[in-house]
Symmetry: C2
């Protein structure tokens, strides 16, 4: 018989989670008190700033429970946060997990979610040190707070881009958004979960190690992860840095699988690239003379492509797409604000 | 016309919150990066451990929106977390706020919630440094992560109680639970919100400054806040310390308003005292010879009553109520686990 959360209760579930975390997670000497007291406690390291971020994913809104394995769901929720720490140039250390659960959820389902968290945390030697469990009547949610560290003064912000800087992007943004559309387009196809773009949507990767390596060069003037889509996040850099941007359309890295998926879905692949997509790639800006140092830090870290796609301008808040015929097309981030009335979601 | 969250969107709302926090909140020099980047960042202090906790309150489950002003709701959500930091002997520093909001929520309602957060944080010089906003289809939630600090080695855990230790409790537990029942009992009475016990339920207080003062004595063997009710939290101390407890029934501090409310509700006031109630008082254990030092630290800190209600025993996990006629009655925490099937909520 399936064991439900309601069978073992909140405190029974906390004990089971604690056992799993102790068995399969990493123990850190800096943690003086883990799960099970009023708070967790840890000793910070001298010479480091602490980074802290939280991100929440909600059932039916950020994921479709029928299409994602709970372990992948855990990975997905953790990746979102790891990516934010990485986009500052930091290293993840400690996670707190706040879960909103339905009473009928199986204990095994919750344990699998935690296995997903640990799959993402263990490679960094990072650990789960606390959290909270709440009964949620309608729809589950997973809210993670992640603490990281970065050498004092090495954090890369959104606000440092300057006119003349080059705009770089890792990997192939837009693939995750196309994966989601494939999933919604053919929900009855049992093999759809195995499609490479659907896998990218379900288990997004992050560039946290790369972010740390790039920050170490001291050459990045601004950095952000593409959690609000490429244009949305370039827009954040422009807003915080009070600059504008020009993008060379033909240099935007559109992957072959994205081209094929767009063809199948009768969509423009650039819409996927520029719009909202959970790819968690990095946008980096730097002076033109620093591009080589950043390229070299990337190639020493991992086999990820790095494309030079545009430049920062002084036209505050304006983003243009430069076409191959020489024309200039203004573009605006769209589709990345879930609350706006004009947004479909 | 009422301005809704859907009118200004997620990023518009973040800007408004940022403005409010900058205008009405405290700025800390240790914070190197606040709201508006991938993460927040701060410099920890040498010689201090960092404490971290999160707690979530859900509409309809932890609060009744029609009976609570949004500013009081914010205070309530923050108090829960401040109380946890205080129960370790720590001082609150930085909060991250994760909100699940409905699109039709008014911007003013959200701003009032933030005013409530600041009302509780400002007296500590603590600040809001980050967060996340999610669209939640069904029911709002407020999930807060609070970071605090405590001198290295001074944190008071749940696990240090030893047989022979005295059990102390601050204030008058059970009043909040009675306040909630009064609210549910007479929902049509417009004056009910002004009843002192209903106010205690709606805007619970915390004993964080007291917890810090008690920790400084170095005399408390264990400490916890009564967020799961008096028996529930004494049970946590017993479990983590592997001990038992005996309580002198006639010494349990039942306030006059609680006695009167219990009479009106045809309930036993001891049920309110022992059961689940959001009072956020402190349970402290210490050696008998240390009681005076703790009493003196309490009286120097604030005018709060401190009752000696029992003693720790070696009967692991067993809690008894000692009646005035000399009989001994076993008691078990009940009603404090929201997921259990046998629980009414």
């Amino acid at each position: 018989m399936t064991e439900r959360v309601s069978d073992i209760g909140e405190f029974g579930l906390i004990r089971r989670i604690n056992d799993l975390v102790n068995r399969e997670g990493i123990q850190s000497e800096q943690v003086t008190l883990g799960i099970g007291d009023d708070t967790a406690a840890f000793l910070p390291r001298l010479g480091y700033e602490l980074l802290i971020t939280c991100d929440c994913i909600v059932e039916g809104r950020h994921y479709l429970p029928e299409y994602i394995h709970p372990s992948d769901l855990g990975r997905r929720a953790m990746v979102v946060n790891i990516s934010d720490i990485g986009a500052m140039g930091g290293k993840p250390l400690y996670a707190l997990i706040s879960l909103g659960l339905k009473a009928e959820t199986s204990v095994q389902y919750v344990e699998e979610i935690y296995r997903g968290f640990l799959l993402e945390l263990n490679p960094f030697g990072a650990s789960i040190i606390g959290g909270n469990i709440t009964k949620s009547g309608n729809g589950m949610f997973i809210d993670i707070t992640l603490v990281g560290e970065v050498e004092q003064g090495k954090a890369v912000r959104r606000s440092g881009a300057r006119p003349g800087d080059v705009i770089l992007v890792t990997g192939y943004p837009g693939q995750s958004a196309a994966g989601l559309q494939l999933l919604l387009h053919e929900p009855e196809d049992s093999k759809i979960k195995e499609h490479p773009l659907v896998r990218i949507y379900n288990i997004p990767s992050h560039r946290a190690k790369l972010g740390e390596a790039i920050a170490q060069t001291g050459c990045a003037s601004a950095m952000i992860d593409t959690s609000d889509g490429f244009l949305g996040d370039l827009g954040h850099i422009c807003e915080e840095s009070r600059v504008g941007a020009e993008l060379f359309k033909e240099r935007l890295p559109i992957s072959k699988p994205l081209q094929e998926a767009a063809l199948k879905l009768h969509r423009d692949p650039y819409d996927f690239f520029l719009g909202e997509s959970d790819d968690y790639e990095l946008i980096i800006t730097c002076r033109p003379q620093d591009v080589d140092r950043i390229r070299s830090s990337v190639s020493q870290c991992c086999p990820v492509s790095l494309a030079e796609v545009g430049r920062i301008t002084g036209d505050t808040g304006e983003i243009f797409l430069l076409l191959s015929d020489g024309t200039k097309q203004p573009v605006k981030p769209s589709g990345w604000d879930h609350f706006r009335k004009d947004h479909g979601q």
